[in-house]
């Protein structure tokens, strides 16, 4: 269970959000500039809230009043970035292995093979990220985040930089991930179609505030026009 209750002033945006996310996939849904990416960066620890608290399961990750701020590298939160952010100087295999190496955990060939198969990236291992297509790159990015054995997976518009064909290619992997991996996900998107496929809970954001929280019934077909 992820519980977020934070304020953050960022430029002209006054962000003030409060929501809880349980199992399955929680979609942060809203127009551009609503503060979705900011919320995800606050959860990951890449930004520091001005006020409030963030907790994951029983662990306080941030609490302004108690002076708690766990640094990003100790949060065990996987983050799939919109632009991938694979390390260009490392091979795909080394990228995938990075999280395990940093945590000092022993090599687990079974887990590695399982995730490589889940995302169908086994044939890419010896390539450099610069030689991957957009779809391949995002699958490797998801694999890299999964292999650090995260307690929570953040996906920030993981499909936004892809064309329609690649989007169709990756969506099934993400659905499989939601159903098989058992890791709670926070999925940021402004695409109605994506959110409908992925989300189990929807948190609607607008101008830095939570407008409503609930199931897929919150989504209206008209949203497609608003956010497209």
């Amino acid at each position: 269970m992820l519980a977020v209750d934070v304020d953050k002033q960022l430029g002209t945006l006054k962000l003030s959000v409060k929501f809880k996310a349980a199992h399955g996939a929680t979609a942060l849904f809203g127009p551009s500039g609503a503060g979705k990416t900011t919320v995800v960066n606050l959860i990951a620890g890449l930004l520091t809230p001005d006020r409030g608290s963030i907790s994951l399961d029983e662990t306080l990750l941030f609490d302004a009043a108690k002076g708690i701020d766990v640094p990003p590298h100790r949060r065990r939160i996987g983050y799939v970035f919109q632009e991938g952010r694979l390390f260009p100087h490392l091979s795909v295999r080394q990228n995938l292995d990075y999280g395990r190496r940093m945590s000092g955990a022993p090599r687990d060939a079974g887990e590695f093979a399982r995730i490589a198969a889940l995302l169908d990236i086994g044939h890419l291992l010896d390539r450099r990220p610069g030689k991957l297509s957009g779809g391949e790159r995002q699958r490797v990015t998801v694999g890299r985040a999964l292999l650090m054995r995260p307690k929570l997976l953040l996906l920030d518009e993981p499909l936004a930089s892809l064309d329609a064909g690649h989007k169709r290619e990756i969506l099934p992997y993400l659905v499989r991930l939601r159903d098989d991996a058992g890791i709670p996900m926070v999925y940021v998107s402004h695409s109605l179609a994506e959110v409908r496929r992925i989300a189990t809970i929807v948190v609607r954001l607008d101008a830095g505030h939570v407008v409503s929280t609930g199931g897929l019934e919150l989504l209206k077909d008209a949203d497609a026009d608003v956010f497209a």
Binding site: A44, G45, L46, P71, P72, H73, R74, R75, R76, I77, G78, Y79, F81, E83, R85, F87, P88, H89, Y98, G99, M102, S103, R127, R128, P129, G130, K131, R144, A145, M148
Partner: protein
């Protein structure tokens, strides 16, 4: 043509040793200060920036003089180093390496700083979400990505050290076998009658060394580029 005298070979060997030691000792400091200048805001930053670049604009003889009065046996820093660590710079080859390092330092700093400034900080954020603390982020992401700039800085500093003359001769004089580098040896040979041929041979060696350094840098940066952009 290439029947160099043992004294000539000594100058060549000494020049290479001094340049390598100067470059290797300057490198960690160059990365540290390049990083400070690229990433940090602090009081006195422009002073540090100016101080580092001073040897580039000062007459080398003045830099040598400043080294002499501060690192000489009776200079404040020189006396301290001798009393506590037994390190002597004045009139030793180590002093020549110090002078070369100081003169090459601004040339080393600039490409390193530019490379560090050009790095996508988002990759460092990504590394931290994957469990890397600040030191590991620096070692596994920042440093490898800055490698082309670091190579360029190393080569420029090394080349500058190979040719250093003014600061070296002012600081540690021109002692054959101890502080007489190729440049100083050529200078000495041109001052005596009949020294032209020997000076010419050393000049050719100097040209060969400079080319070797350039080719090495070209080769290294090409390898770095291949590493970054794949196959």
């Amino acid at each position: 043509m290439f029947d160099l005298s043992p004294a000539d070979w000594t100058a060549v060997e000494l020049t290479i040793r001094i340049s390598i030691v100067a470059t290797l000792c300057a490198l960690p400091l160059g990365i540290a200060i390049g990083w400070l200048l690229a990433r940090k805001k602090f009081w006195g930053k422009s002073v540090l920036d100016g101080l580092v670049h001073l040897p580039l604009v000062l007459p080398p003889v003045v830099t040598g003089y400043l080294l002499l009065i501060s690192f000489g046996r009776r200079g404040p820093i020189g006396a301290f180093l001798y009393d506590h660590f037994g390190i002597v710079f004045s009139f030793r080859w180590t002093g020549a390496a110090l002078a070369c390092g100081v003169m090459g330092f601004p040339l080393m700093i600039r490409p390193i700083r530019l490379a560090l400034e050009a790095i996508d900080r988002k990759l460092e954020d990504a590394a931290s979400t994957l469990g890397a603390n600040k030191v590991w982020v620096f070692l596994t992401v920042t440093l490898p990505l800055a490698l082309p700039g670091i190579i360029a800085g190393v080569v420029l500093c090394f080349a500058r050290a190979l040719g250093e003359f003014g600061a070296t001769i002012t600081f540690v004089s021109n002692i054959p076998g101890e502080t007489q580098t190729i440049s100083a040896a050529i200078f000495t040979l041109t001052q005596v009658p009949g020294g032209d041929a020997a000076a010419g041979r050393l000049a050719l060696i100097s040209i060969a060394l400079a080319f070797a350094a350039l080719f090495a840098s070209e080769w290294l940066s090409r390898r770095a580029a291949i590493r970054f952009h794949g196959d």
